[in-house]
Amino acid sequence: MKVYLDYSATSPVKNEVKKALLPFLENNFGNPSSIHSWGQVARTAVEKARTQVAEFLNSKPEEIIFTSGGTEADNLAVRGISNWSAKGKFQISNSKPHIITSAIEHYAILRTCEYLEKNNLAEITYLKPNKEGLITKEQVKKAVKKNTVLASVIYVNNEIGVIQPIREIGKMIEKENEKRENKIYFHTDAVQAAEYLPMNVDFLHVDLLTISGHKIGAPKGIGALYFRKDVPLRKIIFGGEQEMNLRAGTENVAGIVALGKATEVLRDKKYEIRAEKTLKLRDYFIDRVLKEISEVELNGSRQSRSPNNANFYFKYVEGESILLSLDLVGIAASSGSACTSLSLKPSHVLMATYNNAERSHGSIRFTLGEKTTKEEIDYTITNLKTIIKRLREISPLGVK
């Protein structure tokens, strides 16, 4: 049996999406910037996709920029705003722009903030999550300064699947902004949220939002940034005047068409309905693992949790050897363990949440997808029990 439980890493391209994108690799190969008919066919397709994404997010088409993926969209949000503000009043008043973010962001945000900090281009506050992996609106409020220009909080954490209170934070920032001279813009990386959670930007009260194609059934290499009309974004990639002069480079037409279609497919059903089956399977999975394997803990909040994420800490065993054993029986998962990464550093998300290196080494993430079945979950649990038992016998830790 082959069981793929790593949908948060990437997902297969959906059939409808593949059908929609293929013509743009073949006959409709034109460059949207060309004025001839080939170009115009491509241009029309790109603008249609922009409308589809805009409708999915309840925004206007001109508020959507296509990028090479979630990472670029995150970079554009953070650097695009800090580039703008560094030229504005903060330089004159001798203070740098201030950005509030969390210690459990995706590296696309975290490393960008660290870069700005190191190069003296911005002042950054990294909020620590509580033991559930949650960031509260009060924490964000407390961190606000006179020179704050941006807050960026991940919607669903990619490792522990915790859903952050984006709407509450957004509303709080809106209130703060009423009292302020300079506005604080609010960004969320919603890459892991798009499939199962509300994505209406007005409901969420966000000014900027990132999505990625390959997590929702489009191919890799395409993403988008939503930015509310009044957001003073500055480009970070220079060249031609594509994407409203905010993102240079010939458009990835097939990718854009695919992202448009993928969001349309999602919009066909309400998010609660999309999430229903996955949520049930996830709960079944978590309940059985916690009951049937001893000395296991769930990483991240149980209540405020993505419908597709189950992340467990198996005491006394190391993550890579679990992954390796799972792989030998055809099960794909991922780990916060240092030993699976080239850097040999334990997961920054688990470290920030639990401050326990052993926990990071012994944690495994399972992420479900639309095709996941109960049989697959049963097969996974059966194997997991044998694997954990065997590795604990090899381990010198724990009670024998």
């Binding site: 006394y316 390796l324 030993c339 090899i394 381990s395 830790l397």
Partner: protein
Amino acid sequence: MSKNISSLYSKKVMEHFSHPRNMGTIKNPSGRGRVGNPVCGDLMELQIKVEKKAGKEYIKEAKFQTFGCGAAIATSSMLTDMIVGKDLKELKKISNQTIVESLDGLPPVKQHCSVLAEEALVKAIADYKKKVKQ
């Protein structure tokens, strides 16, 4: 899909990971070496039973327990395989390099696992020698 994580490792490593030799503990071991740290993600305990025969001290039995990645488990298993039956002088020839070679290589980021195995051996022998002197 014929490739999987296990293709990162040699067949020998996978064989030792899947079927580790000499796993467990020894009753009243002559020496033990515990190295590494669970905080770093690797912890290895080697236990040896030393016997004297024809004036030579040799390893009669070796057992290990390891918390760690696939490479850490495989190197510990290989180490025990390599030392059983050898006399203490011969053991000096065993280094992290010879362990890696016996496993048909390890990925570059996993070389430290073999160093850990060598340290466990050195520590276990030192522990034995200390006990003999007492």
